[in-house]
Symmetry: C3
Subunit: 142 residues, 3 copies
């Protein structure tokens, strides 16, 4: 009979600074290595200056547009009170607040049930490269 | 004894173009048809130009205000690099990034545990009507 | 053998009006009182004028900056159609749409797997104090 399974792994992602890293394949590999057929994949970022979005995976211009637009919406040249780590410090927190600390994706037939054009991205909001720690939490039936 | 159950269904929603479709009743019906008493309902949109929000279900003026305000925050008349499908293409991606690809709602006593004034909405961000595919993933105990 | 457990509790939070209430300790206490070792903690707000964010828990200036910046992004002095409860009514809905109605956090080794600098906050968007009702839904294995 089917039983609930819970799998938890840490995913370390090195970012090149401000912008997107497609982590769909790495998360999909964790799902494939599990025996879960139907369930949920929760991805959680353990930081407040990087976040997650699910966005188009086809035209890279979409990602460039998103980065330019969000940089305009949350400008560095504002009188931020908190600027301990430079002018990109507080905008990184605001950008995280507007996007997502976690994403939950259904698992169907042993695969992430993303749409054809969907990719899961870690969005780095700091100017310099960072090493980011994520948790991938799978649950479901085998 | 109680056992964990996992139910997954596809929900197809035809949108009338830019704006809100209340999907609370359709999702609640899937919960009611299951035997889950306590658990979680995850709703996931398989697109990057439509998204989910939980918003007030009483005064329709709230939804009109939200649509006008978000249209102003993410204007079509901006020099977007990606405009393959027209001026509403890239704003739709940005609007999705600001809102949510999935919503998770607790199930209590066999019902969605939404507050009295909360409704679950699919927010279409493209000008023209679209057929959207969602996944409703229930888990919990019976 | 390990079995899935589901625990659901209501959390009532009295807010002091616009701004942040750190609810990490109260949610962590519910996790600690359960026997779940590995799993997920879902926190859900049953309102559309208060929301959740995970943000920095160290420098209070981060929270002041976030509040000032979001108040500017969603101004009260705009011709909102819906203003039944005053000028802060509709901005509260828009602020909620930009942030989150629920947050899901992995549970690892019987603890919330928040990063060192992460705190879970209820963000009140109305000017006056409010009593807010949240649901904390734990699931996982013991």
């Amino acid at each position: 009979m089917s039983r609930s399974h819970w799998v938890q792994e840490t995913l370390v992602v090195d970012t090149p600074g401000k912008g997107f890293t497609n982590i769909s394949a790495r998360v999909a590999a964790i799902v494939a290595a599990s025996t879960i057929v139907t369930g949920q994949c929760l991805v959680f970022v353990r930081h407040t200056s990087a976040s997650l979005v699910i966005q188009e995976n086809a035209d890279p211009a979409v990602l460039r547009d998103l980065e330019r637009w969000l940089s305009g919406l949350v400008p560095e040249q504002r009188a931020w009170e908190h600027d301990d780590e430079g002018p990109d410090d507080m905008p990184a927190h605001a950008r995280s607040a507007l996007t997502r600390t976690s994403e939950a994706i259904p698992i169907s037939a042993r695969c992430l049930a993303l749409g054809t054009w969907q990719g899961l991205y870690l969005w780095e909001h700091r100017q310099r490269p960072h090493r980011r720690e994520l948790i991938v939490q799978l649950s479901g039936i085998t």
